[in-house]
Symmetry: C2
Subunit: 346 residues, 2 copies
Amino acid sequence: MTETVPRPTLEAVAARAGVSRATVSRVVNGSDGVREPLAERVRRAVEELGYVPNQAARSLVTKRHDAIAVIVAEPETRVFADPFFARQLRGISKELTTHDNQLVLLLTEDRDDHVRVGHYLAGGHVDGALVFSLHIDDPLPELIQRAGLPTVFGGRPDWSGGRGGVVYVDSDNRGGARDAVRHLLGLGRSRIAHITGALDQTSAVDRLDGFRDVMVDADPRLVVEGDFTPAGGEWAMRELLDRCPDLDAVFAANDLTAAGALRVLREHGRRVPDDVAVVGFDDMLPIAEQTEPPLTTVRQDIEEMGRLMARLLLRDLDRTTAADENVGGTPSSVILPTTLIRRASA
Amino acid sequence: MTETVPRPTLEAVAARAGVSRATVSRVVNGSDGVREPLAERVRRAVEELGYVPNQAARSLVTKRHDAIAVIVAEPETRVFADPFFARQLRGISKELTTHDNQLVLLLTEDRDDHVRVGHYLAGGHVDGALVFSLHIDDPLPELIQRAGLPTVFGGRPDWSGGRGGVVYVDSDNRGGARDAVRHLLGLGRSRIAHITGALDQTSAVDRLDGFRDVMVDADPRLVVEGDFTPAGGEWAMRELLDRCPDLDAVFAANDLTAAGALRVLREHGRRVPDDVAVVGFDDMLPIAEQTEPPLTTVRQDIEEMGRLMARLLLRDLDRTTAADENVGGTPSSVILPTTLIRRASA
């Protein structure tokens, strides 16, 4: 399924037979409605490539369900309101579909529901789990561990050790934050504020650490906690203007936060970037290009993070279920680089 | 689970014991970390109410997974781009969570993936399915039927008979469309155009039928096919202005389409409602209030549709798995009324 396992895919059969994937599926699953010469071409391609169809023969051999659970540790309302999650799911969906695995998104109303999610994961319905937006003290990782499922996390989990073999995909949040703050210093700014993300998430903590790496002696009043939402950005910006009216720059923990901060700055008659320079994080399009003014920001490749999470998990599953053992070693975590994108706001 | 089956819920136990649902779950599932006097209170409430925890005892009795699949027959990119789906999922999620059932959202890239979805549904991973945004000729209903799963559809499926017992929740699309067009006639408009939705969906066909019910002798050039998206609305509006520059009103098949049409009317210097009156469908907030000018539209209660779909399905499952048989008859389809909401655009 991955480059290390040359197992033929549905796509390969479709390409060889010169038909659509749907047609291959119909033939392979014994449905009616495919004309005989076409069906014959598909059967020949299946034989030539040695393709093993999903549920029928294959799951008997591999004991797989060909289904991967995705859990976003946020209420479903936030999953649909914050484009970050749609972006990450897009990468996951593309990768899983390429490998003919079903994406099973487990939605919840709040953290209390994670016990029920743990039950589902333990019930033998999926082969592995992709988990993102974890919060510190969330019971989910323990529930997943108890379910015994291979798991890849999006974003570094907060435990530092003890549990072996934790695999995650993350961006260089700390390095990206340092770049943002150094850029503001380079513009001659000195009263640089930081609106953090939700500090029960490692991404927010890492970005704050990056800010502090550069602003070693920062006035503590220049740091206000946000929550990665535009409303949080508005609230925090009001608080900052109240506390430190002389501030000349803001590094916001993500673009949604920056968008909220920009609205409040405009409301208060502060010109951006002339009076106050603003840098965000994510490069969430089209938002980052549509703010007034367009946003200078730290780009992370969110879709690629999702794709990589799925790829690492599928590789792990191939490794543990492959008949031969030469599929490669244990997958390890990946930290993706970030890039500063300059627009008008700083 | 529903009002007809007084089976005690996790919530009831939590309320009785005066603790959170998470605490009840932990005690019931034998986790550590709950202080003894609290754990004792929970155990007493469980006993007094006769609460049967989920997976352990209960699924042995009922053979249930306490999980419901939701399939939106659209590419995942559209699921996240069109707020209609988030709204319907919100209703479903609330209802399923109240009954401690897991929402399992099966995402796909395109229609070819529906064969894989059919496999998952047939694999014994869920108790039932909620399916919406079906397109005519979609293989999904047949795949679900083959999987033998109780199913409730969102929106009337297109087959007129033959398959018994199809249950769906829909809005009165045809009646709502008639209201919209009659409202435009009442404003003295006579050259009324219609931008349809995607005509491979019954909701679009029904709204077009409602338009034709009132505009019996309409100039056929006044009907242009859209696809329920803002881009489709823009394209169709350009086409209409080109074909019939004398039009004085537009009924758009949904609010996103209307938003696109409004942009093109503004671009062409047509004043709304003075030159051209515009009515949408959905009352999708905040969009319908934020267009220029705010949109007169036909309101349907999308979240309630989702809630009802989930409720009908759970009731059906209770009926078929209940020990005693007096839980009520076969559920039947529900058609919800619509309401015309007047704002500035017509």
